[in-house]
């Protein structure tokens, strides 16, 4: 039977390791994705509704469940190499999470001189859901 539990604090059975449920929920990742920007395929994801190729080095994502505003936090990781140990990841590689809104964002990869697609791209989104 499905059930709803309303509680402010969780502890273990010995009353140790107390944590407020607000900490658990605020600290939970609201979306994450590991994808290949060269063909816009997702290796795995959570709470990603769609992925679209915007331009070289730019991929647009939408959330399945939206965030409450555009001020959420996210990590950025991109690697142009498709295999471990490849020297490609030594090249200048930067980028950012651009045009973030409550409904999605654009993942932007840059190699120091131009936009570039990467084989392994990761981001994790933290913040408040709508």
């Amino acid at each position: 039977m499905a059930s709803i539990l309303r509680v402010n604090t969780l502890t273990d059975a010995s009353s140790n390791n107390s944590v407020a449920t607000s900490v658990v929920f605020n600290g939970t990742t609201k979306a994450w994705v590991h994808f290949d920007q060269t063909d816009q395929s997702m290796y795995d994801n959570y709470n990603i509704g769609s992925i679209t190729d915007k331009a070289v080095g730019e991929t647009t994502f939408t959330f399945t469940s939206n965030m409450s505003a555009a001020n959420w936090s996210a990590s950025f990781y991109a690697n142009t190499s498709g295999s471990s140990g490849d020297s490609q990841f030594g090249a200048s590689m930067s980028g950012n999470i651009g045009l973030r809104t409550a409904t999605g964002f654009i993942f932007e990869g840059y190699n120091g001189s131009s936009m570039i697609d990467s084989k392994h791209c990761d981001t994790q989104v933290f913040g408040d859901l709508a």
């Binding site: 039977m1 499905a2 059930s3 539990l5 309303r6 509680v7 402010n8 604090t9 969780l10 502890t11 273990d12 059975a13 010995s14 009353s15 107390s18 658990v24 929920f25 605020n26 939970t28 990742t29 609201k30 994450w32 994705v33 590991h34 290796y43 795995d44 959570y46 709470n47 469940s65 939206n66 409450s68 990590s75 990781y77 690697n79 190499s81 295999s83 471990s84 140990g85 020297s87 990841f89 030594g90 090249a91 200048s92 590689m93 120091g112 392994h120 990761d122 981001t123 994790q124 408040d128 859901l129 709508a130």
Partner: protein, 135 residues
């Protein structure tokens, strides 16, 4: 009324690995298990024998080579496609992560941006996180 729940294990009723949580804005929901960070650690990769300064779900660290480290998980991931990140203190270094499999992940720390030669380089303040699905 404030409340406190004393429990050692949380399990979904309909599906053991799925508990729905109402979002902060009170209108959408998220999945507790899917959103949890599944592993994290902090260590000094320059140490003669590397070890966790702090960690969660990390069973061991292996010094594979200069600037290359393997973290083994206590509880394995379900696949080798999980997203993971590595960070360090040196802004001149670049990092990469590649899951070896569900049981471990390799981290690489390499000099190479700003026109430097691309040489593997030990990380003094290595930080790692992994999200995804547990086995």
């Amino acid at each position: 009324m404030a409340s406190q729940l004393k429990v050692d294990t949380l399990t979904g009723v309909t599906t053991a690995g799925s508990i729905v949580v109402t979002g902060e804005g009170n209108s959408t929901t998220t999945n507790l298990q899917q959103g949890l960070c599944k592993a994290w650690c902090y260590f000094d990769g320059t140490a003669g024998t590397i070890s966790f300064s702090d960690s969660f779900n990390g069973s061991s660290l292996t010094d594979v080579a200069t600037g290359q480290y393997d973290i083994s998980f206590s509880s394995s991931m379900a696949n080798s496609t999980y997203p993971c990140n590595m960070s360090d203190a040196d802004r001149n270094d670049n990092r990469a992560t590649f899951p070896n499999d569900g049981a471990s992940c390799r981290m690489y720390n390499r000099m190479g941006i700003d026109g430097q030669a691309a040489n593997d380089n030990d990380a003094s303040q290595a930080q790692f996180t992994a999200h995804g699905d547990l086995a």
